[in-house]
C-alpha cells in the first residue's frame, strides 16, 4: 500500500476493503461476455485488480452487464441484482446497455439499462477491449473512494421509479406477483 493511502484507509476502512474485493457475478448477456474469459484468466488476470468471478449473486458485488439486454434477460438481471448484497456496483459493458447500440430499433431489446437498475459506470465501445474493464475497475475504485458509487442507495431511494419502469416492460415478473390483484388465479 502506498504511504499516501494510509490516511484514506483509516478514514473509511470499509470503502478501502470493498474496493479491493470486487466479486463479479457470473452472468452472461449478449456478445460482450466473450471478453470476460480472457479477462479473468491468465491472459489479463483480473485477480491483479482484486476482481474475481463468483458463481452466485448472493456472494457477489460487481455486476457486469455485457452487451445487449433482451426483455427476457432483463427479468433475470433484475432478479439477480435484487439478490446481491449491498454494497453492489453495476457496470454496463459495451454500447448496447447505454442506448441500445446497434439494437436501437429492435423490438425485443431494452434501450437504456439505467431505467431499470441503477448503473454506476459505463464502458463504451463495441466491443470494448479487455483493458477497458480494468480502466473501469480503476474508475470504480476512485468512485468508491469519493463515495459516489452509490447506485445501490439510489435503487432504494428511487425504488418507485425503477419499479414503475420494470413493471412497464415486465409486468409478469415473479416479484410483482403478490402485489398484483390476482383474482383469476385465486380461484
Amino acid at each position: 500500500m502506498d504511504r499516501a493511502d494510509i490516511p484514506k484507509a483509516l478514514k473509511s476502512p470499509a470503502n478501502w476493503g470493498q474496493k479491493y474485493s470486487l466479486w463479479a457475478v457470473y452472468f452472461c448477456t449478449g456478445c460482450g461476455v466473450i471478453e470476460i474469459p480472457p479477462v479473468i484468466t491468465s491472459r489479463w488476470d483480473a485477480e491483479r485488480f482484486g476482481v474475481l468471478p463468483m458463481a452466485t449473486p448472493r456472494q457477489a458485488n460487481l455486476f457486469l452487464v455485457t452487451g445487449y439486454v433482451s426483455v427476457k434477460t432483463l427479468g433475470a438481471i433484475i432478479r439477480t441484482y435484487d439478490q446481491m448484497p449491498d454494497p453492489k456496483y453495476v457496470v454496463g459493458f459495451g454500447s448496447c446497455p447505454v442506448n441500445g447500440g446497434m439494437y436501437w430499433d429492435s423490438y425485443n431489446t431494452i434501450k437504456h439499462l439505467d431505467k431499470y437498475i441503477p448503473v454506476d459506470g459505463w464502458i463504451a465501445g463495441c466491443m470494448p477491449r479487455p483493458e477497458a474493464i480494468f480502466v473501469a475497475v480503476v474508475h470504480l475504485w476512485q468512485m468508491i473512494d469519493k463515495g459516489i458509487a452509490t447506485g445501490y442507495k439510489r435503487y432504494k431511494e428511487d425504488y418507485e421509479y425503477y419499479e414503475r419502469n420494470q413493471r412497464e416492460v415486465l409486468p409478469h415478473l415473479a416479484k410483482f406477483e403478490s402485489a398484483e390483484p390476482t383474482a383469476a388465479r385465486d380461484i
Binding site: S70, V71, G100, W104, D105, Y107, K111, H112, V169
Partner: protein, 161 residues
C-alpha cells in the same frame, strides 16, 4: 437420384408442382399450399431425411407469405428448397410435424414471428418472445420504431447529471 430425375419425379407425382435445377446439387420446387405436406412425404421417401429449416418470407406487395422448407439428402448430396405460398390474410396451413417431428419447433417460431397458423401443430405457444402483446414482429408492416418508442420510451439525455 440425379437432380434432373428428381425434378421429373416431383413434377410427375405432385399436382401443380414446378421444379427448376439451379445448379449442381440445388433444386427449387414450388408447390401449391395444399400439396406442401405431400411433397415433404414424397421427398422424404426419396431420401431427403434432413429438414434443415423452415423459413418464412413476407411478400407484402403480393399479399402473400412464402414458406421455404430446406431439405437435404445425405445420399444424393442435393439441397431442395420446397416453396409454397399462403395468403397474407389469416394465413393457415397444415403442419409438417408428422413427417418431420422437429418441424414443430420451426413452425412454433414462424407462428410467433409471422402469425402463420399451422393446423395440427399441438404446441403453438409463445416461444422466444416474453409475454408479447403486439402484432407478430417480423411482418413487414410492423412498425418497429413506433413500437420501440411506445414500449421502451426515449433514452434520457446525458445532461441529466
Amino acid at each position: 437420384m440425379s437432380e434432373e430425375n428428381l425434378k421429373k419425379a416431383i413434377e410427375r407425382d405432385l399436382e401443380g408442382a414446378t421444379a427448376t435445377v439451379q445448379n449442381k446439387g440445388r433444386l427449387v420446387a414450388a408447390v401449391p399450399k395444399a400439396g406442401a405436406v405431400s411433397a415433404l412425404i414424397l421427398l422424404k421417401a426419396h431420401g431427403f431425411e434432413h429438414l434443415s429449416a423452415i423459413s418464412c418470407t413476407d411478400w407484402l406487395e403480393q399479399g402473400e407469405f412464402e414458406l421455404v422448407y430446406h431439405l437435404w439428402s445425405y445420399t444424393d448430396k442435393i439441397h431442395v428448397m420446397l416453396k409454397t405460398r399462403l395468403p397474407r390474410e389469416a394465413p393457415r396451413t397444415v403442419t409438417a410435424s408428422p413427417v418431420f417431428r422437429h418441424a414443430q419447433t420451426y413452425e412454433r417460431e414462424i407462428h410467433e414471428m409471422y402469425g402463420v397458423h399451422f393446423e395440427g401443430n399441438p404446441r403453438l405457444t409463445p416461444f422466444l418472445l416474453d409475454h408479447w402483446q403486439g402484432p407478430p414482429p417480423m411482418r413487414r408492416d410492423f412498425d418497429t420504431r413506433k413500437y420501440v418508442q411506445d414500449a421502451f420510451g426515449s433514452t434520457p439525455s446525458l445532461e441529466e447529471e
